[in-house]
Symmetry: D3
Subunit: 319 residues, 6 copies
């Protein structure tokens, strides 16, 4: 695989095709306009500044365009930043396509769909199974494309599906170790817990909150959909209520955004599995480029901690 933007260190010179995910105009302190560019390929993202731009530049280097860039990776307050030395728009001659430059989940959507479907197939409680299958089917396309968040963790194409698949595997080993857990309930909780994000977030390249995302949130959105699904499927039993509770309580506490605290065993464990997978994702990405014996960038959503990679651990590839 070709080396991508995320594999380069501070001090490296790069020459790459990159996608402009977001371009924002500002005025420098000398009064001249400049652009702040968030650029990505499939391995990750980097920020760059394009100084003293012309009106032409402003119309050329826009969101969703792919550019060819030469530059150097520098340190800016503990974060990587790309110093642009040369930049040009691409043409059909460059033979690049957008999908190749969006950060994306390491698994293929069809592979992820197959795995999730297999978990649903194995469920023994038919009511839980039918509701879960119904809602997954309803949002299948969006589920396979949506990120799991706008930032912090799994914030890339298919991030939601990848987060769900990881959590399902974690759920499987935990239900094996603690047989008092109802695996159907836990699997369904995992599949549905963030499904409201397909309506909370929108945008092909950079995910943003929709109006109903802002005013209702993904939790209330899917709780209502579970109710509608049950009505449509003519299921009127406690399973519906318990599934709604799992979703409602999966943030754990009121101050963390949970309308209800977990009062069902599987609801508590769903919250913890969600936490482990999100934290592993954040720590792995922070430590990915860090050589043994050094500290990572600060991870904002983990109390702004820096993580240390012990000297007896593996260096990252390409160092």
């Amino acid at each position: 695989m070709k080396k991508g933007i995320n594999q380069y260190q501070i001090g490296d010179n790069i020459e790459l095709y990159l996608l402009i995910k977001n371009a924002k105009k500002g005025t420098a302190s000398n009064g001249k306009p400049f652009l702040t560019l968030h650029m990505s390929d499939q391995t990750g993202e980097i920020e760059a500044k394009l100084w003293s731009i012309s009106p032409d530049d402003e119309n050329t280097f826009v969101s969703s365009s792919i550019v060819h860039v030469q530059g150097e990776i520098q340190d800016f307050r503990g974060m990587r930043q790309l110093k642009i030395k040369a930049i040009r728009p691409t043409t059909s001659m460059d033979q690049v396509k957008l999908a190749d430059y969006l950060p994306t989940a390491p698994l293929d959507p069809s592979e992820m769909l197959e795995r999730v479907t297999q978990y649903i197939f194995e469920m023994e409680n038919a009511k839980i199974q039918r509701i879960t299958r119904h809602l997954l089917k309803k949002h299948q396309q969006a589920f396979l494309e949506s990120p799991a968040a706008t930032k912090n963790h799994h914030e890339y194409v298919s991030g939601l599906a990848y987060h769900v698949v990881s959590m399902l595997e974690l759920a499987k080993s935990i239900t094996t170790l603690y047989p008092s857990l109802d695996k159907d309930l836990l699997y369904a909780g995992v599949i549905l817990h963030d499904l409201g994000k397909v309506r909370e977030l929108a945008g092909p390249i950079v995910a943003k909150y929709t109006l109903e995302g802002n005013l209702l949130g993904h939790i209330s959105i899917i709780v209502t959909e579970i109710q509608e699904a049950a009505k449509e499927l003519e299921i009127d039993s406690e399973e519906v209520l318990i599934l709604q509770h799992l979703v409602l309580s999966h943030h754990g506490k009121g101050e963390w955004g949970s309308p209800k605290v977990p009062v069902v065993r599987e609801a508590e464990i769903l919250h913890m599995i969600d936490n482990i997978d999100a934290k592993m994702n954040m720590m792995d990405r922070a430590l990915e480029r860090v050589p043994p014996g050094e500290f990572s960038e600060r991870v904002f959503a983990m109390d702004n901690r820096s993580f240390y990679k012990p000297t007896f651990h593996e260096p990252p590839i390409d160092i």
Copy 2:
């Protein structure tokens, strides 16, 4: 009007018919069984202990029965307690009926319904009006009977309707003073904000949490019902979303039980009106029996404060 249990002071001797709302058996430290009775008439409640009971007593003095009691009101750790001197069950000869002994709102249900209906009638936005009317009609009977809570404030028959009527009047004067507020939205928010309590709470005499009350809560319950109502009425516009947001955010913050913080002007004001009416209800009841120049019992839901009645204020009736 005949003097009720709430009008008596510590030291008074009473002779009254009272309803046993709740009877709970315990074992005294001398090993003998006793009953803790919560007894009420329409003016309020009092706790009493019935010592050294026989198995017969246990079967006689049960929840929902009306008894004739003689006793003295005493102080127990800053709360009133009734010391029972004589107690007997009532018979048809006593000509008493249950409804006369439940604490209840000071307004008649039909009067309250008329007032709420009038507010709905005055709405100019037809979508908001239709959804509100639809849901009120759906739960009309329960709305008129339900308490607004299990404890703290408006926890009596028709307490919910009374809380809503008071809040509507407050909403009316506030929208007059601040013309930027949308009165239709605020009135609808007031009427719907606690309507989920008709499913969250149950029980003719003492309100208790239902299973869906415990697992979903009144907020999520009614948010889903607004969705269903809109579908049934074929209303698919932003009003639906905003009404759901008002309900979702009316507790103000995550740690106070709100899935979302208010981000619409009327949502913020709904939260404050709810607060004022609940606090006035709690302070008024705490100060009702307090003579000028003295402090009230502690009010648990208001940070456990005692309130002072200035000497230049009116004494309570019957002092």
Copy 3:
């Protein structure tokens, strides 16, 4: 009325007289000096940068001077900022005067004084009436000119009086709805609660904290003045104490700056009325320029929330 700075949107070109409320020199990252200007007219304020200034500019564009400006309104991190294209000082030829360019309350001082006086006139408790009238008279001029705060809400000329007048009207409707409230006490509390600000804050154009403001605060200042007034008027009764308590507790909690928590009914309600009026002021200003279907700037003093204006609400004038 002529269109003012607050009526313009991002993207608009303006040509206006504006007052420089504050001018602060900085050094740009290219080493050259620049000025940060806070400029206002009666409709509101805007920030601007004047780049690469000469020593002459520094002496010309100073606080309290009125200038003629041409420029464009731009977005800077979600706030409006004025990009200056041309700026010149004004002369007597321009026929402008300072008072016309200070943001100011929407009511006339004499009108506000009349209203407050009427509330005092209606009081029935002579002791409360005399103390309130005495202190208002003592600080009458400053009361009519002072802002209610240095930032966040009512931070303009006559802001204090306007805040008090709004709160009095709110107090009137609440005492009508809840007859257990003592209206004299609540009116007096409203009039006195922030009166210490006339000594806490100072400055004709931009309000700043005085030394006694910093070291004692407006609450302690006026509590002492109530004591002195009572002595001078030879009033020695519980009313004095209760008025002091209302002022002392009107921030609600120790961590919000209240030396005492409210333990008198009117003290609790004073705190809530204060809150409602301040929040309505902040939300109204934030939403004033926002078109339906969009979110406002963040409101710092309301947990940094953005507020949404529903699509079915009125657009601002001039859009």
Copy 4:
């Protein structure tokens, strides 16, 4: 000195004269009345229960009477309690007097007055000196008799004066070590900081909050008195303001009851000296009766901690 109630351990039998500081009637779970007695001599206090009392007993064993008691000291949930075996009222024959049975400061009032006066005498700033002397003189008698609190620390006769004397000595050594501190200001702050307690608390035997104590608090009370003293002495300079600030901020933070946080060096140090003296008083009393190698009772006002007395420390007298 005769052995007092505080020198006895759990398991000891006692025969002593004790003062009833407080007697409170209750109803036992067998329905019979009993008294909870808080009894003291000059060494300390103990709680006891007097079971199955007659109406006569109720009238005999009242607050402020001295009784002769035989009993055994027992453990009740980690606190000492006196099990009464025999109790009788005293007569003139017993030759006991109330003052001998109230817990009291270890120094003589005249001695404490002399020391405080000496500190005032040594002040070099005449304004600070005159205000301090004026207020001390105004409240001299109450200052010498008042406790420093109703519970937790120095809650005995002359406790306030003793607390002030200890703090003055601490202030003296700290100003010697840190010469940047203004000793006049710090001494005055120490003398005045709690002087409002002479009006906040009342009662010859058990201190209780007065109405102005509850509604204003000792801090606001003395801040107003400093203002009045300054006016009377015709002192109108910054010293008045700074002294008021020291009192206003001596609890350190809003949530600990301080209207203002300390922003003057001596104000910060006053807060810390107050803390040290209060904590030493609480720890010393908790550890007084504890043998080496054991833990004390829990100290409520120090986060409910138990303190350990190392085995290499001195045992208490009389063990």
Copy 5:
């Protein structure tokens, strides 16, 4: 297996041998002495009161003795309590032995030792392996007998070893799912994290804090021992430091008792695994006796929540 105390419901009559784990004398409100007994067999514990005891009873029914009891299980404030109808001490004729009546882990110590040893055997990093093996060997006997806590979770004989074995299995599946984790480090962290409890707690029947437990805590105790082990084994490499960090940070935050927050990936995961195993243990025990469709007792260490067992889940054995 014979039915034990934990398998009985409220309302059941029992006749069982039980161990008195703890006996505490009190005085009833009628003045008579009584005993509060905590009694157990291997299935669990229950509290009982023995009223109006004689001095003989007090000497007979002491901690660590086994008794024969007849009684009824009753509800006391939402907790089970045993009402004793008949109780007698046991003699050699009863053929009972203490070990059979202590609640104990469901696995055999030798079995648990074997499993832990296997995990150590599989380690590839020799330094981590040697330190872990050294410390386990040093405390092997105590490790196999000690509870994991004095209350809340795994507070029974061999509770520590059982907690470690469960966590090791959880660690194994998590390291399989997230290959970036160092399994040697995580296993060693699991084995050592609570090993200091063998010195923090003591007592064959009821675990209590030792002096060094109170003053140093199990975390500091084992951190020092890791240092000593490394010195003895002549290991002076970063592994020592990282192992100490894992132990130091395994409570996650300062306010939860962690001297350091986790800054190594495995330290964060160790904290989460510890949490999951403790919570599963608490929820399982709370729900063990609960029939489907009901709520459990409140679980103090999980924010005092009650947990619900869905109606479609299995009833407990013996219902």
Copy 6:
């Protein structure tokens, strides 16, 4: 003594030799590189920017070099900043040496060592004395050179020793006033409490956290060393445990970094003495340059407060 950087005010022009403690390259918003320099002499520090640097400049103006600077002191967001007008490297001709330009404690290391040694000499408990002497000797050189922190207070050469000497004198006067305190224990606690900093921090010019500082912290480091010292000295008594507890608890609470809360009298007082000395150091430095009647810069570690210097206090030297 020659006037140093800390004696100059905003607006002053300076011409001084200064040490570059730290030089950090950045990119200005015009795209050109610049240096942020932290420069010091023995009186204090100042920040400066060097704009538009050449590659030569970058290699010349590096950490640990001494430069000759001309410039003006300006205000930047309430902090002093040096505007460089001319800067040149120094040569042997300038006759300057590094040690003269590092901020350093006001007492000589040998003088401080003598004082600490005297306190150890006066100890009566031989075990405490031997452990303290042993550890001081082991780290003597580093103890005399180390700062007490990386920022906030005593963050200069020999800052640790100076902090300890001040605290010892404070400890001496407090033990005199409160005779229940064990002075040996308190002195030893003072000497050892921060001694772990000699391993937590490193670096001759700017102190930085070492790896063991980051992962273990100075508290755990020295607790382990006390254990090792005791073993080496063959002391096995409670004194070892108590000394470890004093160190472990000297930050007061878990959320302030204390593994244990203080449960020994001297531990609580050690925490308070540490606080007083650190706060006096911060306030004195903040107020050093402030003229009477003005407020200081904000002090970050004291809740970001500004401190006021009363008009009746002394102006700083050289104003």
